[in-house]
Subunit: 290 residues, 4 copies
């Protein structure tokens, strides 16, 4: 993708890197919403919102798009950027791409006749994001435990995107990988990949042997009963979005360390995360034939 | 699973091995339909169909169940075993499990009030079968090509069950694995697994570098145009069910070796194939709470 | 390496492929000793030995160089090619490279003032040859056993070149890999690579669980006592050079299948084997600064 | 190993964990040299050096044994423990095991007629230590770089113990692994393991593509010339013991981040490091038949 005109508006370090990468690919890129960044951006910010948007073909908002459904999520900006002002400036030939565009923002877009696409609805984006998430989880485990991951018993709860990729990486480092799932076909996949398959009803029996547990299931699975089976020095890393899958208070009271690690891609690998956003945007543009 | 009563009726070597394994697990097993086997069965066949079925809890037919929709597929038996006679003997408390139970047989089962389950509808069975299929494909490639699979350029067309497992095994041997797919999310998965992702529109550009191509897509993909891009000593192994994905005549006329390899599990690893059938049957029984 | 003049003299299919590859790299190549080949050589043979050798910079003999220490090992030639005639034609500026140049041939070379290098003394050649050897062993196992190598218990006796590479490949396919060794440091390596380490004094205890045993140790290790521990359907593949490591007669009498698989590179992957010979010859030429 | 009597004297956290593990295995363990530890030791320290040693069969000193060749390296102890006093108490039936027993200490041992074994002379110990070293290096890389190791270009300088194990782990995470070596046989090994082999004379050509460089070679290899080829955001992690292989001052002046990471096993995985020491001690005891 090149010779397109993009606007990157608000967002965290990933948005900055995304703007840099789009420019390096030969596109024209306007940015707005970073007046407070305090580091070298590698490009000049537009002075006005309108200036940033008016000539653009694709306007890229942050992930998540907003924390209040009214203003753009712009941690590096000193003033509020109202979403309706963004939409007011945009014409119907422009595309608005951002992450987690909720009902309220979508409704606003309709009113202003703005075409929007949610990055988090893109399956390839979700798959790619599992890579830095898995690496971030491994980094945390390495930092926390006094043993090597090599020859360590690691249990992954859930066999979705993160479970698959995390399992592969842990196996690659030399961990003994156990994956819990609850469908027979997942059991078959887990075995075929060379992991130890733990059917949900066998979970309790294997908990006491585990050194690290990675949870990816977004509902209570490590409850009082499960926690009571663990070794006291077992580490729990919960990667599941709210409400998570761990009774953190109970774990704490039992002296079991449990870490809730969210939004890892932007934290551990912002440049890679930006690259994955860029690739997904390119795919969207290709599909739309913009 | 143990202490159940099974009947294994007809089928190839897998059915024999299945019967042996069920018995070794502590079940009672009747067999019928092997009077011509000519090898040591390890157990005694029932003399009459009725004797074989009458006390059974689960009657297991072959994969595929029938080649003519009228008689049981029984290559080791000298006489025809009519499906309607099997069903006539069975009571409604007995379960009939077999592979590829077509509409006609299903209709017959309804008439006789027999409860049937098709093994090939079971996702875990399909996944597990991809393991011997992938190994069989590797064996054929090893036998046919005068180079090692190590450091060999292998292209897999399609990223379904076989594509995933075959890719993993080839990578494990040291091949340079390329996988073709046509969804962006599949591209993401392929990259995340460390394979070279080939988007469908890039396929033609990479064909000329390939040493072996494994097809898993059941429609014409290696047509005249694609074949013309290949090195003359490129080997094609088609694993797709009918109609396959290769223009075999054209390939032959161009001097390109193309092998259509079907039904590999029963051929290359009947004991493992039988084990996977057994596991799937156990899962069915668990689910039904029989 | 290019623009050199080579002679390839005698040898099996690998020598033919080697000549082809050297020519494809842009060298001039004379060949002699294939008048009986009966297949398309892709190049014209010299009519006389002298014509083939006289202009050459490097004369390449077969692997092994000779079976009788007097004539070149030339299975595709109808007449004998005497080594001393080869040496008589060669000048001291020419290099003679071949495999397994024994004392007698070396002595002859001294007499004729010919500089020789033995390919089998080259460590990189030995390492590279372990690749097709390991693949060949895997192919044989796949052909012989009715189970998949995936999830199969494979024991490798010895942790030398073949043991290491075979272990890696089997692990890559999904086998449960056990490797026997007798040094503590090898135990450490085996564990670090993620295999199951079997110390020599634990060998007897693990034999009964094995589905396939690959031996790489060239002295009797699978003797009557060890064989008596095996399952009757355990397959033995002996990759060790003479005298091998298996009591084959005893195995046969016990109904255990044991295959002595020698010289696999030339048999299973002659083109790759030729490439490895070529790379080694290039290394030799680089080192000598010829 | 059990029912032996050990003394653990001085050392860092690994020594504490080692004492705990030896006791957990069923041995009697005396400890001395931790009066300042400030954490729960899990066992009671002997009050006097003599009390700690007198009944012991094996006295285990730290790694390294001493920093001044006169006193035991005892970071958790408030007073000096003189090596000659340790040796004075020991009888000739006792064994002294520690790491890096230099000439001076060895000489002292001779005078006092004490039998000593240096842990760092044990090959298995060196191999096993490469596992936490490699993981520690990966942890540092993950913490430092804003990209994922997955699909990252990683160059390892040197193909010794650490190079081999680090290469395997990085490959397992999904890095593109390049390994530099200078022997043709190492090139062959590197290729056979599926890594990209970089011959020493090709090194300069590949430097500019690298994202992370891990050095294991203990002499200047990343000098001004090599550093000038790197991307400015390339990270260097030097794992080589003194004098290291990186011109750190030059790197700093060029804005290239270079980290000298020594003694990783004790830092990142003290429990695993202790386990490896214990296994090595067990091997020593087995060999000696003590």
């Amino acid at each position: 993708m090149e010779n397109k005109i993009f606007t990157v508006i608000g967002g965290d370090l990933r948005s900055v890197k995304l703007a840099n990468q789009l420019m390096a690919d030969g596109n024209t890129v306007y940015i707005y919403g970073f007046n407070n960044a305090g580091f070298e951006m590698g490009m000049t910010e537009s002075k006005e919102l309108e200036e940033a948007i008016i000539k653009s073909e694709v306007v890229i908002g942050p992930i998540p798009c907003s924390n209040d459904n009214e203003t753009i999520n712009a941690p590096f900006h000193s003033e509020k950027i109202h979403i309706n002002e963004v939409f007011k400036i945009m014409s119907k030939n422009q595309l608005f791409i951002a992450g987690r565009i909720g009902d309220k923002i979508a409704h606003l877009a309709e009113i202003y006749n703005v075409y929007t696409i949610d990055l988090l609805d893109r399956e390839e984006m979700a798959v790619l994001n599992a890579i830095p998430t898995a690496e971030g989880a491994i980094q945390i485990a390495m930092e926390e435990i006094p043993i090597t991951l090599h020859d360590c018993n690691c249990l992954i709860l859930g066999f979705g995107r993160i479970g698959k990729i995390l399992g592969k990486m842990l196996h690659g480092i030399g961990s003994n990988v156990f994956i819990e799932a609850r469908k027979y076909s997942d059991m078959a996949w887990i075995k075929s990949y060379g992991f130890n398959a733990v059917f949900i009803n066998e979970l309790n029996d294997c908990l006491s042997d585990m050194d690290v547990i990675f949870n990816t299931i977004p509902y209570m699975i490590l409850d009082t009963n499960a926690l009571s089976k663990l070794k006291s020095d077992c580490l729990i890393i919960d990667l599941a979005s709210k409400p998570g899958g761990v009774d953190f208070e109970k774990a704490k009271s039992m002296g079991i360390k449990a870490i809730w690690a969210l939004s890892l891609p932007g934290k551990v690998a912002p440049v890679t995360a930006a690259k994955f956003i860029k690739e997904t945007i390119n795919n969207i543009i290709c599909e739309l034939g913009v």
